[in-house]
Amino acid sequence: MTTENKQFKGVLIMSEKIIDLNDSVHDICNKYPEMVQILEELGFKDITKPGMLNTAAKFMTLDKGAKMKKIDINQIEDKLLTFGYKIRKG
């Protein structure tokens, strides 16, 4: 499935998808599996490497990730919004 489809689906269903910027990447991806690809596109490149999601990702939050990768947090928020996620800042 392409991300475009997912985007469409997200808008269509309009279910409450909430992401806290202080949640770990591990928790986020467990809850919303499509987030793996979305986050990879945003620059979290190591996320798709086998064995990273269950280990390092437990200690990585979106907030920290953005700081580390020097990604503008607004950019992350924008992208998540287009996929139908609500953002919560812890």
């Binding site: 190591d46 490497k49 086998p50 064995g51 990273m52 280990t55 390092a56 437990k58 200690f59 990585m60 920290k64 700081k67 580390m68 990768k69 020097k70």
Partner: protein, 406 residues
């Protein structure tokens, strides 16, 4: 004992349980005792996290808020102001303290010895930049400690991907550093190219520092036992440090008085008389170390009394563990399981318990046996661990006779 268990997850569970007990009407005094027995330092953040977890599990918010008043009185004085939460990275000499201090040195080298001289068009900068880059090459010591001492412990716990990824980036940084040093020392330098390469390198190093302090260290602290940290601290000396002075880290020992005496009185040589034979101490030691499996004995007071030192121990133990609580030789994640088994042994509910786990190329059988005397009184627990992969692979027969016929 429990203060040595660095496991926020487990503490959260216990905290939740305490709050729940209060909710179900347990006496404050009762819970207080349990709290004090289990925790020696717990942060307010952790308590609020546990409350969050309760809310997420469906406990109504106002219920949890009501609980706040109750647990505030229970926890009063024990949160933070009395027992400061232990942050290992602030304990002088702890390997995570050292790693962080080294990162500060690396940052300082970059800020004061490299960045100011990055513009080679200025007279005299070249020598200073080369000196700075030369100084930065000490970073190798920092990475070597991670790769050769810390990563093997992570692999032991099945955490293999992060070290691999990190090692890859370490190598990139090494290669980049080498490249810019060569570029900077060559006769005809392309200043712009060099500048952008150095900036790129600095970015990579800073990202690595961030990863170490925000992912690696928290992950390690949640996984490794204090004795493993001690081993890391002692092995680190062989590689060396970027910082000039590394404080000696000696965690508080919790020897019981009588145990200290027992340890001091132990004979250094002599004979050990057993019902079925008499052994020289030397024979006994060597014999136990030759057993094709590892054994650890924990006495009835939950203190580690002995472990064998076979050539390839599956779970490393350091000698300093002797005399200390059993919780020190198990990773935080599994220590409560061990505590439960020991409890069942003490109560006579069970006599043994087995586990088997896959670890890299081995298949490890871990067996716990209750050790009792003739009167069936509990003396302690014996842990036996063995890689049974080679045994599982045995098929067919190999008889003495068939050897003889060859």
């Amino acid at each position: 004992m429990s203060e040595l268990i660095n496991n926020r997850e487990k503490r959260k569970e216990v905290l939740k349980d305490i709050i729940r007990q209060l909710h179900e009407g347990a006496a404050v005094e009762e819970v207080k005792a349990k709290f004090e027995e289990t925790f020696s330092g717990v942060s307010a953040t952790e308590i609020s996290e546990a409350e969050q977890a309760l809310i997420l599990e469906g406990v109504p918010v106002d219920e949890v808020q009501k609980l706040c008043d109750v647990h505030a009185s229970v926890f009063k004085g024990s949160i933070e102001e009395i027992h400061r939460p232990k942050d290992e990275t602030e304990i002088p000499g702890h390997p995570t303290y050292v790693l962080k201090k080294e990162n500060r040195v690396i940052e300082n080298i970059i800020e004061t010895e490299i960045t100011p001289y990055i513009d080679l068009k200025k007279e005299g900068n070249k020598e200073l930049l080369l000196k700075g880059l030369q100084n930065l090459s000490k970073i190798d010591l920092h990475y070597l400690k991670k790769e050769n001492i810390i990563f093997p412990f992570m692999e032991k716990y099945g955490i293999t991907a992060p070290p691999k990824v990190m090692w890859g980036v370490d190598d990139e940084i090494r290669a980049d550093l080498k490249e810019v040093t060569q570029l900077a020392s060559s006769e005809s330098v392309n200043e712009e190219e060099l500048k952008s390469k150095i900036n790129n390198l600095i970015e990579k190093i800073n990202e690595m520092i961030f990863k170490e302090e925000n992912i690696l260290i928290p992950m390690l602290l949640e996984t490794l036992t204090e004795d493993e940290w001690l081993k890391i601290a002692s092995d680190s000396k062989e590689i060396g440090f970027i910082i000039d002075y590394v404080p000696n880290w000696t965690p508080v020992k919790e020897y019981k008085e009588e145990l200290i005496e027992e340890l001091e009185e132990r004979p250094k040589e002599g004979m050990v008389t057993l019902p079925t034979g008499v052994l020289k101490l030397e024979e006994l030691i060597a014999m136990l170390n030759t057993l094709p499996f590892d054994i650890t004995f924990v006495d009835k007071n939950d203190k580690v009394k002995y472990f064998s030192e076979g050539p390839e121990r599956i779970f490393p133990r350091t000698r300093s563990v002797v005399g200390r609580n059993v919780s020190n030789c198990h990773p935080p994640q599994s220590v409560h399981v061990v505590e439960k088994i020991v409890e069942d042994f003490k109560n006579g509910i069970k006599d043994h318990e087995d586990f088997w786990i896959k670890m890299k190329d081995s298949f490890v059988l871990i067996r716990y046996f209750a050790v009792r005397n003739e009167k069936k009184e509990y003396l302690g627990v014996l842990e036996v661990t063995q890689n049974i992969k080679p045994i599982q692979e045995i098929t067919g027969e190999k008889r003495l006779l068939s050897e003889f016929m060859k």
